[in-house]
């Protein structure tokens, strides 16, 4: 056991964080995002030349290549914003619940949003895009409250595994509800099914425009919660001792993350595992300070979903694999490795 020797009065800079390393990583992920966005416009079942991309950006769709690029530009943008929303949402959820397994998919929140939308379409003739977003957010919030309540029952409160179990069980139940509702209705079954898997293939600028205001509010609320999440990470008692209003802070941050994953689900279907994988990878890069972790998770989430979408287009040529399937293939082994680690404990 070493006791620290007494040292001369330290320079204030000793206590400063290694910000330069983080800035470097920030540049790296931003560069990766830009590269992936470019690749996403170029690569696909038909590769497009740069001249066509430039023409398509100018609004032209005369050649087949230009037409393909015109479709891929909104698709790429949607992948970026949805991925960013899911990555950030997952990071906030992990912070709010101090639970390394928290993720909009694992906790069943995406499925809550999905069920609400399917019910809305099947029984209430829900077709307006804005109404679908609102419905999805209400469904996400309902599932979040329900899963947290169930996971908190019994001794020890909302432990990581209990919360994940409650979320997974709820998720399974919600999926059966969705199937039960959609299957007998031939008219909506197919659209529900493809939406349910999760994809960004049908993206339009209109769809992005509808969901963007919700996402922007979600981004703002979540990012501004960073400092509160830093306090909550030390335990509720210490957070309160540091002047944090614990219930208010937790509720605000949860609201931000529900807005993000609800809106993302409304436009792209329930895409799993992005919110789980991304914050863990980002923690390796920049540490546990939420002021860095949250923006990083957003950018890296955009990277992961864009990359997954590209992979989905390449592996099944000339057909495509929905991005939700690709993220599940990447995320499932990751999920298992987190669970298997000895230290599944509070973050």
């Amino acid at each position: 056991m070493t006791t620290a020797p007494s040292v001369p009065a330290p320079d204030a800079a000793v206590a400063r964080r290694p910000g330069s390393v983080r800035l470097l990583w920030l540049l790296v992920v931003v560069a990766a995002l830009v590269a992936l966005m470019a690749a996403s416009v170029v690569v696909g079942s038909r590769d497009v030349g740069w001249s066509d991309v430039v023409a398509a950006l100018g609004g032209s769709s005369d050649t087949i290549g230009q037409a393909a690029a015109t479709k891929r530009i909104p698709r790429t943008l949607l992948a970026v914003v949805v991925g960013a929303a899911l990555g950030l949402s997952g990071a906030v959820m992990q912070g709010v619940t101090r639970n390394p397994l928290a993720d909009p998919g694992v906790l069943g929140i995406n499925m809550g949003a999905s069920l609400a939308v399917v019910v809305g379409i099947a029984w209430f003739g829900l077709f307006s895009a804005t109404a679908i977003v609102w419905t999805a957010i209400v469904g996400a919030a309902g599932a979040a409250v329900f899963v947290y309540a169930v996971g908190s029952l019994g001794r020890g409160g909302a432990t990581p595994l209990k919360l994940a179990l409650a979320g997974t069980a709820t998720s399974a139940a919600l999926v059966s509800f969705i199937t039960a509702i959609a299957l007998p209705r031939g008219d909506i079954a197919e659209s529900v099914q493809s939406w349910e898997i999760g994809g960004v293939g049908g993206a339009t600028f209109d769809a992005i425009g509808t969901v963007l205001p919700f996402l922007l509010v979600g981004f703002a609320v979540s990012l501004l919660s960073a400092r509160s999440l830093n306090s909550l990470a030390l335990g509720d008692e210490l957070a309160a001792g540091l002047g944090e209003r614990v219930v208010l802070a937790r509720g605000t941050a949860a609201l931000g993350s529900v807005l993000l994953c609800g809106a993302a689900t409304a436009v792209a279907g329930p895409i799993g595992f992005v919110g789980l994988v991304v914050p863990h990878l980002c923690r390796l890069l920049v540490g546990v300070d939420h002021r860095w972790l949250l923006p990083f998770s957003a950018i890296a989430g955009g990277c992961l979903l864009t990359a997954s979408d590209i992979v989905g287009r390449i592996v099944a040529r000339p057909s495509e694999l929905d991005v939700g399937i690709v993220t599940a293939l990447i995320g499932a082994p990751f999920f298992i490795s987190i669970v298997r680690r000895q230290k599944v404990r509070e973050l």
Binding site: V7, P10, L234, G235, L242, G243, D289, L347
Partner: protein
Amino acid sequence: MTATHSLAAEALTLGYGDRTVIDELDLVVPPGRITAIVGANACGKSTLLRSMSRLLAPRGGQVLLDGKAVHRLPAKELARTLGLLPQSPIAPEGITVADLVGRGRHPHQGVFTRWRREDDEAVAAALEATQTTTLADRPVDELSGGQRQRVWIAMALAQQTDLLLLDEPTTFLDVAHQVEVLDLLTDLNRARGTTVVMVLHDLNMAARYADHLVALAAGRVHAAGTPEDVLTEDHVRAVFGLDSRVIVDPTSERPLMLPIGRHHMAAAAPRDVVRQVG
């Protein structure tokens, strides 16, 4: 940092569910001194401390900081005057010492304020005071128990409060580290005039380090005053239901309590028995 704040409880009643733990308790914390709260298990020591730092709302009565009820003060304003170190705070996995200590600056920062020079200075001073400067870049998970406790105290110091409440700061530490932590708190009290209130399990440590001792029993203050007044054989019997001898500690000249169990009675036996043996 020489401002002396008054902290007191008035007819304070606390409880969980339908159980009353603290019953109309009155207590005055002497400013600028070290106060230790002692008592049997589950007598409400920690509950009292939690309520004094407004983690637990009173059923009746109030906790007053400079005459104002703490439960009505703005959270951050209170956190700039009164710091709390709970019994088992959580260190996020992989967090570095400097980052953890920096989180003590929370009450001094707003949502949009950036990390400032004075924050750096507060963190550096806290690390230095707890002799953890050389650990600044180490992950907290890798530290020994004693080092970790010093880091938590450094975090509380970075909060720069005139009052510091600690819930059993020496639990799980071996005796050398217990002494180290309590010496550190004494340094703080002497150098900065910080008012320290701590819950302690070990009566002798409490008597040695506290200027003011508060013994709780049955949800009330059984005795309060100097260690000499409070740590007596009669009070130990009343509070813990334990027979004991109290002698004068030859090193500190504070009272030292020696418990008497059922099997080792020689020292406490009547004089004539001792004389026979001797």
